[in-house]
Amino acid sequence: MPIADRVAVRLRVNGEEVAVMVPPYKTLLEVLREDLGLTGTKHGCELGECSTCGVLVDGRPYLSCLAMPLDLEGREITTVEGMADGSEPDPLQVAFAELGAAQCGYCTPAMLLTARALLDHDPHPTRDAIKEALSGVLCRCTGYLKIFEAVELAASRGRRHG
């Protein structure tokens, strides 16, 4: 077994260029959490079953636990830390808080980001479209209903900047 050297990776995360030296076998999930301190993205099953580690790459949901950082150079990565605009939360974050759509909160970052990707693509989704888009993200607390309602509430309020 070779001892892999650390390699330089340049990423664009939440609108900022960052460079880190990491072993090439670390997945994006570990690099985000351990090297960039962005702990909003959660470890879950590690195997593509739960989607708790979901982030956006060029606006589409990806599993950070199954993504290699070197493969994502030059792409736009968004984590939950990048959703708020300064001190102003994303409308989805507001709606989740208002409706109690987060209980333990563990799946919430991935739910918010996946919902953001949906609303960017389809600003007024049907309940079925919401269910389909979020179907990979497992929540063991809420029974999903409040999450669906929160996405609908955010959709009804429209985009933050009109």
């Binding site: 077994m1 070779p2 001892i3 892999a4 390699v7 072993p23 090439p24 076998y25 670390k26 997945t27 570990e30 470890h43 590690e46 195997l47 593509g48 079953e49 989607s51 979901g54 589409r60 949901p61 990806y62 599993l63 636990c65 199954l66 993504a67 290699m68 070197l70 493969d71 996946t114 389909e132 888009a133 179907s135 990979g136 993200v137």
Partner: protein, 290 residues
């Protein structure tokens, strides 16, 4: 949870990837979507010393139809298949299968060719390719060869792909008029592997079946081509008796094992029921309906 250490190579061209495989042999694995390979690495079921990432080779992401063949490249992803109007209009079995692969997030990244090369007996695309009578182009530095999908799988997670080869293209006979297909999948929840799934592809010839393809998922050590059922349909009128006979033959071809998803009898019966339904749906579509 980290994979065992490996060296990472971002290939910029197919030639570069093939050269690396030629040099590194069994120490290297190709990384496409990574939705099956990276879990295997993390579980330490595989620990290649080198990973050859082909995601940077943009020209490998293609689907094109011409000269009687539909060609699919190694980076064509599930999501692209799901959104393809070409597949929706003429390759129904593929269009049916695509949105049933794993969940929407996995589909953003995973590839058809990667799934086929991974050769999970519960994988869906191998079954679809068996029904479509597809060919696979296996390329190495020293040349390329073409094998039928039915000769590609050699057991659970095993294929005839050599360590120096890449699955470089999937070739499917182009759909002609009077073609219909369907993919029926039973899963316990969204994103689960199939309990049972059945792929059906029909080429009608006037009022009779010109050719039929039937593939079975998750009911044996590899994806199964139900060849006796296919033979029973060839040249036949697709009446209820013929459909029932073919469905019974497909059920006979299944080799399910009992597990937490169901008993042997249950799975075999689902194969029978899904083959019947699949044939009816495919026939409907071949006649221009549904």
């Amino acid at each position: 949870m980290l994979p065992a250490p490996f060296e990472y190579h971002a290939a910029k061209s197919m030639d570069e990837a093939l050269g690396l495989l030629d040099t590194l042999g069994e120490d290297a694995k190709i990384l496409a979507g990574g939705q099956s390979l990276i879990p295997l690495l993390k579980l330490r079921f595989a620990s290649p010393a080198h990973l050859v990432d082909i995601n940077g080779i943009k020209e490998l992401d293609f689907i094109e139809e011409g000269d009687g063949t539909l060609r699919i490249g190694p980076l064509f992803r599930h999501k692209a298949a799901e959104r393809s109007s070409l597949l929706a209009s003429r390759y129904h079995v593929m269009a049916d299968a695509a949105p049933q692969i794993a969940d929407p997030i996995i589909r953003n990244r995973g590839t058809i060719a990667g799934s086929v090369a991974h050769a999970d007996p519960s994988g869906d695309w191998g079954t679809v390719l068996l029904a479509l009578d597809a060919e696979l182009v296996l390329r190495s530095k020293s040349g390329s060869r073409t094998v039928k999908a039915r000769d590609f799988f050699s057991g659970p997670f095993s294929t005839v792909l050599e360590p120096t080869e890449v699955l470089s293209e999937i070739r499917i006979p182009a759909a002609r008029p009077q073609t219909g297909g369907a993919y029926l999948k039973l899963e316990r929840k969204v994103g689960d592997f199939a309990t049972v799934a059945v792929a059906v592809h029909l080429q009608m010839d006037g009022g009779k079946v010109g050719s039929a393809g039937i593939g079975l998922t998750a009911v044996g050590p590899q994806n199964i081509k139900a060849e006796q059922a296919e033979a029973a349909l060839r040249g036949a009128r697709l009446d209820d008796a013929t459909i029932k006979e073919a469905a019974a033959l497909a059920a006979d071809a299944a080799e399910p094992k009992a597990d937490h998803r169901g008993s042997v009898e249950y799975k075999r019966n689902v194969v029978r029921v899904f083959t019947e339904r699949g044939l009816k749906r495919a026939y409907e579509r071949a006649r221009g309906g549904g």
